[in-house]
């Protein structure tokens, strides 16, 4: 796949490095007005770059036109629920810059106990207190509840989650529509793991 990045931000530079290491990606370039591209990596508010019709992969929640949106840690958490064959009961996400709240939430070490705020019934966000980010996703399945968690450098995690959306685009490029990681869950989770994300599951307490 030929990939074009809309602009040179620190995050997109990290995304570029992740993509360069993937064998399915043939070229990675920044938009210069002439790029021949299969997939455009862009922020949702970027002006249109790349030849039309575009297939865009974004970390933002919404997307106009065809592509994959929500390529971020929350998207990975939701994709894990699809892989597990269940649905999300709750996601707790600790990341740098989030505001402290009154809701106690536990994350794996070294993040530990944080105090966050309920954003929706299924999402609580908390400050990470360092460059380390973490999410815990509680999934309801027919076999009972399970929890997955990820703990990693915040910028690395963001870059991998975004790049994974590009890598998961291959099979869906020919039938363009608006997708999220949950729609390409297996290839998305596999791409995140291949790029170095470790997913952990909580052992049942004795």
């Amino acid at each position: 796949m030929k990939v074009t990045l809309s602009r040179k931000t620190p995050l997109l530079q990290r995304v570029s490095r992740v993509l360069t290491a993937d064998p399915t990606i043939t070229t990675v370039s920044y938009w210069d007005g002439r790029n021949d591209t299969d997939v455009t990596v862009a922020y949702a508010d970027d002006e249109a770059v790349g030849p039309a019709p575009r297939f865009v992969v974004t970390a933002d929640e919404r997307l106009e036109g065809s592509g994959i949106a929500d390529c971020n840690p929350l998207g990975l958490a939701k994709a894990l629920s699809r892989v597990a064959g269940g649905h999300v009961k709750h996601i707790s996400w600790a990341k740098p810059g989030s505001s402290r709240g009154a809701e106690p939430v536990r994350f794996p070490s070294p993040v530990g106990l944080r105090y966050g705020s309920k954003v929706t019934d299924t999402l609580t966000m908390a400050p990470a207190g360092s460059a380390i980010a973490s999410f815990v996703v509680e999934i309801e399945t027919e076999g009972g509840p399970i929890q997955y968690a990820v703990v990693d450098d915040s910028e690395f995690l963001a870059a991998v989650c975004w790049a994974a959306g590009v890598i998961a685009s291959g099979p869906v490029l020919e039938s363009p529509r608006q997708l999220t990681p949950i729609d390409v869950a297996e290839t998305y989770v596999r791409a995140c793991q291949a790029a170095g994300i470790v997913i952990a599951r909580q052992e049942p307490s004795s």
């Binding site: 106690p104 536990r106 106990l113 952990a200 599951r201 909580q202 307490s205």
Partner: protein, 43 residues
């Protein structure tokens, strides 16, 4: 009567403190359970 009430309240306070301390030991703020790396795709 007043001394009796003080003794009852003291005993009650001690019992509550003991209960809270025990709860804190069972559920310390830093507890996070045991997390094991897995491959969700092969589970």
């Amino acid at each position: 009567m007043k001394i009796r009430n003080i003794l009852i309240l003291t005993a009650l306070a001690g019992a509550i403190a003991s209960y809270l301390n025990k709860q804190k030991q069972l559920d310390p703020p830093s507890a996070d359970g045991i997390w094991k790396p897995v491959n969700p795709l092969s589970e």
